[in-house]
């Protein structure tokens, strides 16, 4: 059972990582665009237990650090994603009222993406990674948030079905 869950999860994570790296990055979307992989990981964490959330964050962060466009040292995304996924999963875990609420989950994901990017900026600054001018950073953060707000409701049912398929749960969102 565990082997099935791990292998299926790994395949799904790699699939969305490749979608992000080979398809989404092809488009010159205004205001920075979005990261389907980041959205997917946070949705996955919202629907999981804190331990699985943290493990998912580790796996996602590992893949994000492998990305050629990752500017920081290897491990920076891993650290951020572990904390983000664990936090978002812990806040949501056991809260049945929230689990079925589509709009609140979307809100959670948008705030999660924004917080993740801010954490990346802060840790990047601590580790000496150049991040650009303030106006460009603000523009990118606003752009990513708006894109996430648009993309999350469209993609979340698919992510929830995949999560339900892997963990044999039925999530009504």
């Amino acid at each position: 059972m565990l082997t099935r869950q791990v292998s299926l999860s790994a395949l799904i994570f790699i699939f969305f990582y490749l979608i992000q790296e080979s398809v989404v990055t092809q488009f010159h979307l205004p205001a920075g665009g979005f990261s389907i992989f980041l959205i997917f990981t946070l949705v996955w964490a919202v629907l999981s237990t804190p331990v699985i959330g943290a493990l998912s964050g580790f796996a996602a962060g590992f893949l994000m650090d492998l990305s050629q466009s990752s500017s920081g040292p290897f491990g920076q995304w891993i650290l951020i994603m572990i904390l983000a996924c664990y936090a978002i999963s812990l806040l949501n875990y056991g809260n049945e009222k929230l689990r079925g609420n589509f709009i609140e989950i979307v809100f959670f994901i948008v705030v999660g993406v924004l917080a993740t990017e801010l954490c990346f900026l802060i840790t990047g600054a601590l580790l000496g990674v150049a991040t650009g001018s303030i106006d460009q950073i603000i523009l990118t953060l606003i752009g990513i948030s708006i894109w996430t707000l648009v993309i999350t409701p469209l993609s979340m049912p698919v992510f929830a079905r995949l999560h339900g398929f892997v963990f044999n749960t039925r999530m009504h969102i």
């Binding site: 080979s22 989404v24 010159h28 050629q68 290897f74 491990g75 572990i82 812990l90 650009g132 950073i137």
Partner: protein
């Protein structure tokens, strides 16, 4: 803390965080294993990016049209009456023409200066989630590309080769906040350091506070030792604003890059520099102002009717 906050889950999280910190430490210490993992992953990903680039191109053109709807409205209205086959063919043809035009301009630029170049197609644009500005090109070490070589576009400098893989290479764009280049002002030959700002604008810090810099001054790459990472003479940008603060230690100026980083589809990597510095031979010609026709109207009085 509910069920998730038990000791076991905390232990797992602590182990994962320690692992992440270990990775960061190893990477900052320059352990080769981490670089090897990234190289391996990029070699795998680049083949998917090629396939993605091929599949996505028609949709990409569609999105480009949508984002430039105001400018292409007339063209879209004309295309509406054409059938889908012709439409696709036209879009693909436009894409190829645009690439050809860019390539011609690059060859002109390289030919004038005597650069030996390898042209390459942009197969992926780096995600902005990491606040970095990069592109991936479809030529790598198999084509003779090495790290720290200058990358030029049709208009001027595009960036520098950051990583090289067998069939692809990662280019750090000049717009990246980490990008720094030594430049000189064409004509006066004053030197300074230009740094990217995350968009098409950049900041020029002049080394001499007594230097006179003016709006419209052209900046050229100063060149590096052994021509790596920068070959001399490549047009970089145009001064668009000057900061003349009296208390400033060094004079600074706002610069707009010649290259349009959001529209790069073909670039060239300079693999061989000319024997002599091309000096100011690559300074782009200023556009000639279009003469505005003057219309002169002669008013002739209507003969009044006299009774």
């Amino acid at each position: 803390m509910r069920d998730g906050g038990d000791n076991r889950s905390r232990l797992v999280v602590i182990i994962l965080i320690v692992s992440a910190l270990l990775f960061i430490t190893l990477d900052l210490r320059g352990i080769a294993v981490i670089g090897g993992i990234r190289h391996g992953a990029q070699s795998v990903t680049s083949s998917f990016q090629r396939a993605g680039s091929f599949v996505v191109t028609p949709f990409k053109n569609f999105f480009t049209d949508v984002t430039q709807l105001g400018r292409t409205r007339n063209q879209l209205e004309q295309l509406r009456f054409e059938n889908s086959t012709l439409k696709n063919r036209l879009i693909n043809r436009e894409s190829a023409d645009s690439e050809l035009l860019q390539l011609k301009s690059i060859l002109n630029l390289a030919g004038t200066a005597g650069y030996k170049i390898i042209s390459a197609k942009v197969i992926s644009q780096g995600s902005s989630q990491s606040f970095s500005q990069t592109i991936t090109i479809d030529a790598g070490s198999n084509s003779g590309i090495k790290r720290n070589q200058t990358v030029i576009s049709d208009a001027g400098i595009a960036g520098v080769v950051k990583e090289v893989y067998s069939d692809s290479a990662l280019v750090l764009l000049a717009s990246d906040p980490a990008f720094r280049i030594g430049v000189r002002i064409a004509g006066s030959q004053q030197i300074g350091i230009l740094s990217g700002q995350g968009n098409r604008r950049a900041i020029l810090q002049l080394l001499d506070n007594q230097t006179d810099v003016a709006i419209g001054d052209v900046l050229l790459a100063r060149g590096s030792a052994a021509n790596r990472p920068f070959v001399p003479g490549v047009p970089v940008g145009l001064v668009t604003s000057v900061d003349n603060s009296p208390g400033a230690i060094a004079q600074s100026a706002g610069v707009t890059f010649y290259a349009n980083f959001s529209a790069l589809s073909v670039v060239a990597v300079v693999v061989g520099a000319p024997a002599t510095d091309p000096r100011d031979s690559l300074v782009p010609q200023k556009p000639e102002p279009t003469p505005i026709p003057t219309v002169t109207i002669y008013v002739t009085p209507t003969p009044s009717v006299t009774k």
